[in-house]
């Protein structure tokens, strides 16, 4: 487990919650945009809600093995 441990010893608020928080705000914006606008809002919702799926796939592709 130490292999994945970062040089910082305790971590800070932003490094722990920053990523999920950004994704969360993006997702809420996407959920509302499709409701409020049928055209561009719809396209934005696909990007905003697709982001968690795409990011997960990216983390999976570059995961460390062993």
């Amino acid at each position: 487990m130490t292999a994945a441990r970062k040089s910082r010893s305790s971590g800070n608020w932003w490094t722990v919650y920053g990523g999920p928080l950004l994704l969360g705000v993006l997702a809420i914006a996407g959920l509302l945009s499709a409701l409020l606008s049928a055209g561009p809002g719809r396209y934005f919702s696909w990007l905003a809600l697709g982001a968690p799926v795409a990011l997960t796939a990216w983390f999976f592709a570059r995961r460390k093995r062993g």
Binding site: A4, R5, S9, G19, I28, A34, L35, T56, R63
Partner: protein, 367 residues
């Protein structure tokens, strides 16, 4: 502790909800494929739509001995008219029959809904246990929200030494631990919204009763003590008057007098706007059942508006096929979060037992 127990109690039901919800995202497409979503014939150019009174007579002739409860227009199928019949106006919703009719020819097009998707829907909504089943699933949904919020709190001690998106495969337990954290973290906003809107939906009947007891009761006060209408007014004339009362809006559905959505004296015509949002925010127009004259028209109270807006946010049916596919992927990711959470709990318990015997310390957060 909060995270463990709120999750554990609701785990099986949440898995049921996620698994049955998955095909329901595509219920329109599946119904169409299996023939439970009849389509109208191509209308001749310049063809005139039949009168709704004629379609109502056709529907009653099709199911003799039954009464009409609702007539509904699908926003995306303007050439289809859907008629609900039941054994009485306030009959059991499960006894209702839905049939589609061609708006131009009044020809019956076939039953609407039913089939395998209805089984998924019943499992998802109330597990075939009626209102108590629905409220029970609402409580499980509430535990799901508690589990998510408590998971956010636990996320700090467990991941503060890891960079976001760490996926290790040192052991099966650590691999699933990382997946649980990653998938839980990236789906959190979506899961909260779908969970909360699902809980709101379980309260639909409660909200409807509240509306009937307060606003609707107030609207129909002048009719107190009058007998229910004997001869119903013409539907076409009634709908025309409703349209004139709410300019720029279209009819979503009409509830016949005595059905759960109106009083025993009135037609309630529910009007909708034409944007994704306003098409959900229905406005009821009450019309005298015998004369078809407008009695009252008021916007719905905030809690019913909240319910109507929460529905698309739960179903994911408002952003085209790509949004439905994303909805399905996020649902599968949530299934993995729930499944891995259960697995981690089982492994921890097993470890706890063996460590307790050996007198060794337990694995700690941020290991």
């Amino acid at each position: 502790m909060v995270h463990t127990w709120s999750s554990l109690i609701s785990t099986l039901f949440l898995l049921l909800l996620c698994v049955t919800g998955l095909p329901l995202i595509f219920h329109h497409e599946i119904d169409e494929l299996l023939g439970y979503d009849p389509k109208p014939e191509m209308a001749q150019p310049g063809a005139v739509k039949r009168s709704i009174d004629e379609i109502a007579r056709t529907a009653l002739a099709h199911d003799p001995g039954r009464v009409l409860q609702y007539i509904l227009w699908d926003k995306d199928e303007p050439n289809t008219v859907i008629a609900f019949t039941n054994n009485k106006v306030d009959g059991d919703p499960d006894a209702a029959t839905l049939r589609a009719y061609d708006a131009h020819t009044a020809k019956p097009l076939g039953p609407v809904g039913g089939g395998p998707m209805l089984i998924f829907l019943k499992l998802h909504v109330d597990m075939f246990a009626g209102q108590p089943g629905k409220l029970f699933l609402g409580a499980m949904g509430f535990l799901f929200l508690v589990a998510i919020v408590s998971g956010v709190v636990l996320y700090w001690p467990f991941t503060r030494r890891l960079s976001f998106g760490t996926l290790r495969d040192k052991s099966r337990r650590i691999a699933w631990f990382d997946w649980h954290n990653l998938l839980g973290a990236v789906t959190i906003a979506w899961a909260l919204v779908v969970g909360a809107t699902g809980v709101i939906n379980t309260l639909a009947e409660v909200m409807l009763s509240q509306w009937k007891a307060t606003e609707l009761a107030d609207m129909v006060k002048p009719y107190a003590g009058k007998p229910p209408p004997v001869h119903l007014a013409s539907l076409d004339a009634t709908l025309e008057k409703a349209r004139n009362t709410a300019p720029g809006m279209n009819v979503s559905f009409v509830a016949f007098p005595g059905t759960p959505f109106t009083s025993s004296h009135h037609f309630a015509v529910f009007m909708r706007g034409d944007t994704p949002l306003t098409s959900r925010l229905l406005k009821p127009v009450l019309l005298d059942g015998e004369t078809g004259e407008v009695s009252d028209a008021r916007d719905l109270p905030v809690y019913l508006k909240a319910l109507l807006v929460s529905q698309p946010l739960h179903f994911g049916d408002y952003g085209g096929m790509p949004l439905k596919i994303i909805w399905a992927l996020l649902d599968v990711m949530t299934i993995v979060v729930i499944g891995s959470g259960l697995y981690l709990w089982i492994v921890k318990r097993r470890k706890h037992r063996s460590h307790a015997i050996a007198g060794q310390p337990l694995l700690q957060p941020s290991e």
